[in-house]
């Protein structure tokens, strides 16, 4: 979506809707976690009051089935971030990737 403010307003409106179907919101979260599980970044959690000091990136083997859907471009990225931009149709994703040097 070109207009980021418009997207953010739409995202908040979608998440805020009183009658929001919980199945939909669970599916969005699940799509995010599926992508994380296929990727290179491990989530961490910190206890209350402890700030995160640094980012920790795990280098691993990219799931070939996942990447085959994206023209077999796996293996060249050192890191990527994803978010289901198509919140209404949450199968759509935006990728930000860094090429390994």
């Amino acid at each position: 979506m070109d207009n980021i403010k418009e997207f953010e307003a739409g995202l908040l409106k979608k998440l805020e809707a009183k009658d929001m179907d919980k199945i939909v919101i669970r599916n969005i979260s699940r799509e995010i976690v599926n992508l994380k599980k296929s990727g290179l970044l491990i989530d961490q959690v910190y206890v209350k009051g402890v700030p995160r000091l640094d980012r920790y990136i795990i280098n691993g083997i990219v799931d070939p089935e996942f990447w085959s859907k994206f023209n077999n471009v796996g293996g060249i990225f050192s890191r990527f971030e994803v978010f289901p931009y198509g919140v209404i149709a949450h199968q759509g994703f935006k990728f930000n990737a860094e090429i390994e040097r």
Partner: protein, 348 residues
């Protein structure tokens, strides 16, 4: 096979830092509604610096490498500069969580040189921040603190306690943090512990709120990639099931289970000198000891007596989380602390 490198017992080590969370005093210039340590201006007790130094030397030799100062307001600890200088010389990373309102004085500006990261608490836009902090003008004073950090070129982040009243402000908060020059925005869901249990019981986060926070945090992470780290202290149940070693030090094949610092990523020292594993509020019956009565066998003795019990508790807690299909998004540390005090009943 998918994720074969990250399954239980993998070589992935989840914690690069082994943290000692220090609460040298619970004295504070504020009396925040969500304060898990129930800190306030009325509390006076503080840690003895000599005893603390002796323990921190021992803990460093045992593998701990990160100091995380909390409180109370750490800047009110009279020996803070001497403490930070000592830990920095030993080799620790020094971090500090602060309300940011007391950074203007010469002493406090000076001690920033010993800190690797300053994390300033922000509870939302001015009105919500001041309400939580119980002081009109708290937001403005905090902003002045951010300006000082920026002027001194000191790396800083913002820590936000997410409540059902604040999740919809997360996009605003991301922009506020980025504009202020923060390198980190950390989102920690409200835990009903300490004063929060009395003051904010009606603000408990349910699964829907945690989903909203999880989704927005991932959006912000994507939006600010390369400019600011977004850390959400939440895990999806499916993720935790695939990577239990993120929270379970006993499940890491690279862990030496005879070394406390390799199976317990975080220990807490409060203003009385009590040493607690994992997190503030963890069952005191599983306390590691005190600063005032320890020797060089403390960690070894603790593991010999408690490791098997803690590992079993950890596995029971994880199994319970995995079985509960009604709760997708997990505030792991809240669950873990709660279960330490209210052990799960295991059927025969």
């Amino acid at each position: 096979m998918m994720n074969e490198h990250f399954t239980k017992g993998s070589s992935a080590c989840a914690a690069p830092f082994r943290t000692i969370q220090l609460h040298p005093t619970r004295r504070c210039n504020l009396c925040c509604k969500h304060c898990y340590s129930s800190s306030s201006p009325l509390l006076k007790e503080s840690l003895d610096l000599t005893a603390l130094k002796t323990f921190l030397k021992y803990a460093y030799d045992q593998g701990f490498n990160n100091i995380s100062l909390s409180g109370g307001e750490p800047l009110l600890y009279k020996d803070l500069e001497a403490l930070l200088r000592f830990t920095k010389e030993l080799g620790y990373n020094n971090t500090m969580a602060t309300n940011g309102m007391l950074l203007g004085g010469a002493r406090n500006r000076s001690l920033l040189q010993y800190l690797d990261l300053v994390a300033v608490s922000v509870d939302g836009p001015p009105q919500l921040h001041d309400y939580i902090r119980g002081q009109q003008g708290a937001f403005e004073k905090m902003q002045q603190g951010l300006q000082i950090l920026k002027e001194l070129n000191k790396p800083f982040g913002l820590i936000h306690t997410v409540t059902p009243e604040s999740w919809k402000e997360l996009i605003w908060l991301g922009a506020f943090a980025a504009d202020a020059g923060a390198k980190l925005l950390q989102l920690h869901p409200l835990e009903l512990f300490g004063r929060a249990r009395q003051e904010l019981a009606q603000w408990a986060n349910d699964d829907l709120h945690l989903h909203r926070t999880y989704i927005l945090a991932n959006y912000l992470s994507s939006k600010y990639q390369g400019r600011m780290v977004i850390q959400a202290d939440l895990l999806h149940r499916d993720y935790l099931q695939s990577f239990p070693q993120v929270v379970n030090g006993f499940a890491r094949s690279c862990s030496n289970k005879d070394r406390l610092a390799q199976v317990i990523d975080n220990i807490v020292i409060d203003e009385t000198g009590a040493i607690t594993p994992f997190a503030y509020g963890f069952d005191p019956q599983l306390s590691i000891g005190t600063l005032h009565d320890f020797d060089d066998t403390l960690f070894d003795r603790y593991l010999a007596h408690n490791a098997a019990k803690i590992e079993a508790m950890m596995e029971q807690t994880l199994a319970h989380v995995f079985e509960n299909k009604d709760q997708d998004i997990i505030n792991w540390n809240e669950v873990w602390v709660y279960n330490s005090r209210n052990p799960l009943q295991v059927s025969a």
